[in-house]
Symmetry: C2
Subunit: 305 residues, 2 copies
């Protein structure tokens, strides 16, 4: 199976602590790296993760709160010191370029590469990235400021040919591509050989959805339905539900309810408030609602499967 992993570099909330750093993740799809959010210290966490700096060309910022983007300047500077030449693309809600530009011009005026800013709206899903193996689409979230999550969707790969059968039926080379894509084969005698005798399916395309920061929001369920892995923020426990509502955050049970209703494969929760010394209660509250729940933690690398 091709690599599709999520690396947690930081899963705390606004106040970084000795237990959890500010939000940062790296999605590794076949050794192409995509960073999601970039809290203070992201560059050091990236170094710690042993992921290759040169493989990272795209950074996605969910919203313009400091704990999700204070690490950008350090990361950009370090890439410059390392002599990077490839463009670095940063996707975010509108406003980030204006905020960083004065510092970029001042601190990074001799940058060896270009930083390209892309802004997206946060009111409806928008495909903001595509390459031959993947699309990335925004997920509108409900937070105190414009915020979007991200849906990473592998493209379905063509079926695999069953070589023996292809030879047996003497399928002409020119037809192989169609057959990979699902066509049946008709022999010279007019006999139809169904596609499933000629091919076997490739690995089903996988999906990873990232939803942080957000209030409980059922509208997104159709978009994230059946994803293999859902990261959903769980800033608070149930005892702080009022505080969660007030600050536009979710509880562990909120996250689990979304996971259950969206029938996802696994739920990964994080963005834990600094007030909690231990995250076991998050798991205890979430699992009765959605058993397949995992706690995020710095250094965790989880396969999307």
């Amino acid at each position: 199976m091709e690599k599709f992993e999520v690396n947690i570099l930081g899963c705390g909330s606004a106040l970084p602590t000795m237990r959890h750093l500010s939000t940062c993740q790296v999605v590794n799809i076949r050794e192409k790296l995509f960073m999601i959010d970039c809290g203070e210290g992201a560059q050091l966490q990236l170094r710690r993760s042993k992921l290759k700096f040169s493989r990272l060309n795209h950074i996605f910022i969910s919203h313009l709160h400091g704990d999700h983007c204070y690490g950008l300047m350090g990361l950009i500077s370090t890439f410059g010191l390392l002599g990077r030449t490839a463009k670095l693309h940063i996707y975010s809600p509108a406003g980030l370029e204006e905020l960083l530009k004065p510092q970029l011009d001042f601190f990074c005026n001799k940058l060896t590469y270009e930083v390209v800013f892309h802004s997206f709206q946060t009111s409806s899903p928008e495909q903001i990235f595509e390459d031959k193996s993947l699309t990335i689409t925004t997920i509108p979230l409900r937070h105190r400021i414009p915020t979007a999550g991200f849906l990473f969707a592998e493209k379905q790969r063509p079926n695999h040919l069953i070589k023996d059968m292809i030879e047996f039926y003497k399928v002409p080379i020119v037809q192989l591509n169609d057959i990979k894509l699902g066509a049946d084969f008709v022999t010279a005698d007019g006999v139809v050989i169904p596609n499933n005798r000629l091919t076997f399916p490739s690995t089903p395309a996988r999906k990873y959805a990232y939803c942080s920061d957000t209030l409980y929001k059922e509208n997104n369920i159709p978009q994230i339905k059946g994803v293999n892995l859902l990261f959903h923020e769980a800033t608070f426990l149930e005892s702080e539900r009022a505080r969660a509502k007030e600050t536009n955050h979710s509880t562990a049970i909120d996250a689990a309810r979304i996971a259950a209703k969206a029938e996802v494969g696994e739920l990964l929760i994080g963005h834990f408030s600094a007030r909690y010394e231990d995250e076991t209660p998050f798991l205890e509250e979430a699992t009765p609602v959605f058993p397949n729940t995992i706690l995020a933690n710095e250094g965790l690398c989880i396969e999307v499967r």
Copy 2:
């Protein structure tokens, strides 16, 4: 002896590594904290040091390179989240306020306290802070951009009265202050009692000098003459002298020469380039020139004595 300590929160150079973070120190004088430089991750290092956030009201930035100030936004935000009300004073060469203002207005628009910016010139020494126990004066340095170090000088405290002698000579209370400050006492009979029979000297005032980042610069020697502790940058070893000159940095031997010529008590070296995996050679090069040399390291707390 009253507390006068230097805490190393970061002693790497431009590229933070797993071994060394960007520059940051905290000078603790009688539980009043003064931060010098504020590289990325400073707030977490401050937390790690167990120094009290509420005791820190003054931050001194030597120069406007990112590795000396990228930690400011995170620190300022965190102070806000913790409900700080006391003003936070930031001293730096001109330009920092303009660089941070857009981000402060955007990310910290509900800050519970005031950030006050003070700028200083870097061409001649300037006293930029004074309270009843201390003065802080800039030390002009020679780097690629305007840069200053800082001289922390305790004020000399009055002599201590020898109670038995004060009682024996029946010194009137009204004269005690003058005697603490060095006056002799004249008895009713006209006999002069010399001050050194009535008092013993208080601890000699101590000095800490911080010089980073800088090329080897002898002009500063008179200003830092005889300080108890000198922090001097030593970015490179002697084998990289050409690189040191090119980037306006010092070698370990440069730092040791300054320490020797200035006849300081102890030399603390840091700002190590990321290229070195081990700092032992820094010590090996510095100590023949100035034996009393110490390697900086994250978590080191060194008494000024």
